[in-house]
């Protein structure tokens, strides 16, 4: 069972996306598509023929596979329902973030490959956001890692040293901003737009169609679920099982579902209640989150909790 944890992320990530969309629709007074809609969309895209730009090179064709592969490989590292995670041998939380970054690097290259202004714009903005997010995300993870005495995710999840202390709350708030930025949600990016001037993530995917688009979208859902899982592993590890017995797994799966539902609700709430920010206001949001992460670290050093 513990070997198949990552399959949960691969299989259920479109469902999580569907749940977020449904909750968002309900909060905005709409009915919204069913929670299984992302599966139908992916299936339909896989069946479709493709139109490719003749400007593109092999980088464009290789990118969907690389993005999907690297995200799935990153998903193997994260303990989902039990802290016994055999693939933890691959690396720690730093390795996880760098494996995700491989996907982003290639996605940005693919954005430039078709030779259109939209793709370049998307790539440029994505890399700029990454520059602002990365230090803040690392710093908030450092606080958790230092207090747990390890950067191994399963070990951070099993140690509950700083739960609900001031430094923990500060680090968590910085990390949530990081998740919003990384998954391309309002107020950083609007996932539902195809308006040229505002899109970041969608801009890079504009030239994709059919099977490639399906892979890119699916990888994006996976990245979202992966980051949510990472957040609950690091900041709310309560309830994650530390053995692999049947009843323990069932209980821990139930708790995991609740946590994911809570994260989905949080994202839907933020998306429904905020407007998208102007791109050049982002440094103040993300810089503010960096200060939170820094304060969290200082608090931990000064207060020891």
């Amino acid at each position: 069972m513990e070997y198949l944890q990552f399959v949960i992320i691969i299989v259920f990530s479109p469902l999580l996306q569907g749940v977020i969309k449904k909750l968002k629709a309900n909060m905005q007074g709409r009915v919204g598509p069913g929670v299984f809609q992302p599966y139908y969309d992916l299936f339909r895209l896989f069946k479709k023929d493709m139109v490719l730009s003749h400007v593109t090179s092999w980088i464009f064709k290789a990118t969907p596979y690389i993005v999907f592969t690297s995200t799935a490989a990153a998903a193997m590292i994260v303990p989902v329902i039990t802290t016994i995670s055999p693939f933890g041998i691959m690396g720690d939380v730093i390795a996880l973030i760098y494996i995700i970054a491989v996907g982003r690097f290639f996605m940005a290259l693919a954005g430039l490959d078709a030779g259109t202004a939209f793709g370049g714009e998307g790539s440029s903005r994505e890399m700029t956001v990454a520059i602002l997010v990365e230090p803040m995300m690392m710093l908030s993870i450092f606080t958790a890692a230092i207090s747990a005495g390890s950067t191994n995710i399963a070990r951070i999840a099993s140690s509950q040293n700083i739960l609900y202390s001031p430094s923990h709350i500060l680090a968590l708030s910085a990390f949530i901003v990081a998740i919003i930025a990384e998954t391309g949600r309002i107020p950083v990016d609007n996932p539902d737009t195809h308006l040229e001037l505002t899109m970041i993530h969608e801009g890079m995917l504009l030239e994709y169609s059919g099977k490639y688009l399906a892979l890119m979208e699916w990888a994006h859902y996976m990245k979202q679920m992966l980051l949510f899982t990472l957040a609950v592993d690091i900041f709310f590890p309560i309830g994650i099982s530390s053995d692999t017995g049947f009843s323990a797994i069932v209980l821990s799966s139930g708790i995991y579902c609740l946590k994911m539902f809570f994260m989905a609700g949080l994202m839907a709430l933020i998306e429904s209640s905020r407007a998208k920010m102007r791109f050049f206001q982002l440094p103040s949001l993300l810089g503010g989150a960096f200060v939170l992460a820094l304060l969290s670290l200082l608090t931990y050093i000064m207060m020891g909790k």
Partner: protein
């Protein structure tokens, strides 16, 4: 040392981002990478001064490993840049574009170099940067509060550097190798001779090997590490590094193998679900306005514009817009736009130094009048001085 390393790595990569000359870009990245090496060495000095020898060993391994890696991928990238210059006769990447089609091998190897320098797995830069991160987090174990605060901040600086380097090489590779050729020179290029590409190929392969089997490299480093710190640091072998039982471990081999397994599963899945797809080739999306030209592509200047604006306190950008009108303000004849940045260390550090040297040189100029008699006089005076003081 740690602070100098952090500052120089961030500044190096920031100026590299604004550089569109492919060789000067790589040169600025050397500043960045030496900053990263200094982070490792600085952390090692902190540990050593507190007598934490085994931690000092880990940090020095990070520094030395990055030194080796830097030699490998920077060599590879300079060879790639040389090959590109040989083919396109320009160093300015705004005049390149689409080179990956005409120069596939150079493109592939330059890509591998870029991935390595951005420290992405499974290539070599990742391993040494991971080790540097670990030694900076371990900085928390040092007893003084200053180093407890500074070393995680060094880690944040390293993360910022990593993200900036990734942006920079997306620019360097994307603008010069991808998209449409930006002028006719870039259109008619030929791949460099096999002797040039083979050299790059060897270095690219080494980048992969050093990234996948870090344990073996660290074993080779251990005599030097022991001499410097009096400790061997960690147990490592083949494709596996472990700081110690509890702290953390990394296995690039496992990462690579798992990626391959996932890849095979994914291809099999796609094969089962939908195999009867046609691929049609068409133009890129042009908003319904026909004929996209290469001039409409995103340029390197445009790509780095957001970063230029966000870090404008450091770059001190200058812009110059001059418009000439046929009939003001509706019919524009020409628009000229130029933008530049001021490297502040040039303005506040190098220029004053140059100024002082100039001033001294101006004073000294009086001595050098060009008159032969005066020079003979100098020799005479020197001779007398030597005779008086020499005896």
């Amino acid at each position: 040392m740690l602070v100098i390393g952090a500052v120089s790595s961030i500044l190096g990569v920031l100026y590299a981002l604004m550089e569109h000359d492919i060789k000067r870009l790589l040169a600025y990245h050397s500043v960045e990478n030496i900053g990263i090496i200094l982070l490792g060495i600085g952390a090692s000095m902190i540990f050593k001064s507190h007598g934490l020898n085994s931690l000092a060993a880990i940090a020095i391994i990070a520094g030395l490993y990055h030194t080796i890696n830097h030699a490998l991928f920077k060599g590879l990238l300079f060879l790639g840049a040389g090959s590109v210059m040989h083919a396109t006769h320009t160093k300015n990447m705004e005049n390149m574009g689409g080179l990956i089609k005409s120069m596939p091998y150079t493109g592939l190897f330059f890509l591998i170099g870029s991935i390595s320098i951005c420290s992405l797995p499974p290539f070599n830069g990742f391993v040494s940067e991971w080790l540097t991160f670990q030694s900076l987090i371990l900085g928390f174990q040092s007893p003084t509060i200053t180093s407890k605060i500074i070393s995680p901040l060094g880690g944040a600086a390293l993360a910022l550097t990593g993200a900036l380097a990734a942006a920079c090489f997306v620019k360097a590779f994307g603008i010069s190798f991808l998209g449409m050729p930006r002028n006719s020179h870039a259109e008619n290029v030929r791949e460099s001779s096999p002797s040039m590409t083979a050299g790059m190929g060897i270095l690219a392969l080494l980048c992969l090997v050093f990234g996948v089997f870090p344990g073996s490299v660290i074993t080779l480093l251990s005599p030097a590490v022991f001499n410097l710190t009096g400790s061997y640091g960690r147990v490592a072998g083949g494709g596996f590094i472990q700081i110690n039982e509890t702290i953390s471990s990394l296995s690039p081999v496992a990462i690579l193998v798992m990626m391959l397994i996932v890849f095979i599963a994914m291809v099999a899945f796609i094969f089962i679900i939908g195999n009867k797809r046609k691929i049609t080739y068409a133009d890129s999306w042009d908003c319904g306005m026909p004929s996209l030209t290469p001039r409409m592509q995103y340029t390197a200047t445009a790509f780095t514009k957001p970063i230029r604006l966000i870090f404008k306190r450091i770059y001190l950008p200058k812009r110059d817009l001059s418009v000439s009108y046929i009939l003001k303000p509706f019919f524009v004849k020409t628009i000229r736009y130029s933008a530049d940045i001021t490297p502040f260390f040039e303005k506040y550090l190098y220029m004053p130094a140059v100024e002082i040297v100039h001033r001294i040189a101006n004073r000294v100029k009086l001595l050098q009048s060009g008159s032969l008699q005066l020079y003979l006089g100098y020799i005479l005076i020197t001779l007398i001085v030597l005779l008086v003081f020499g005896t």
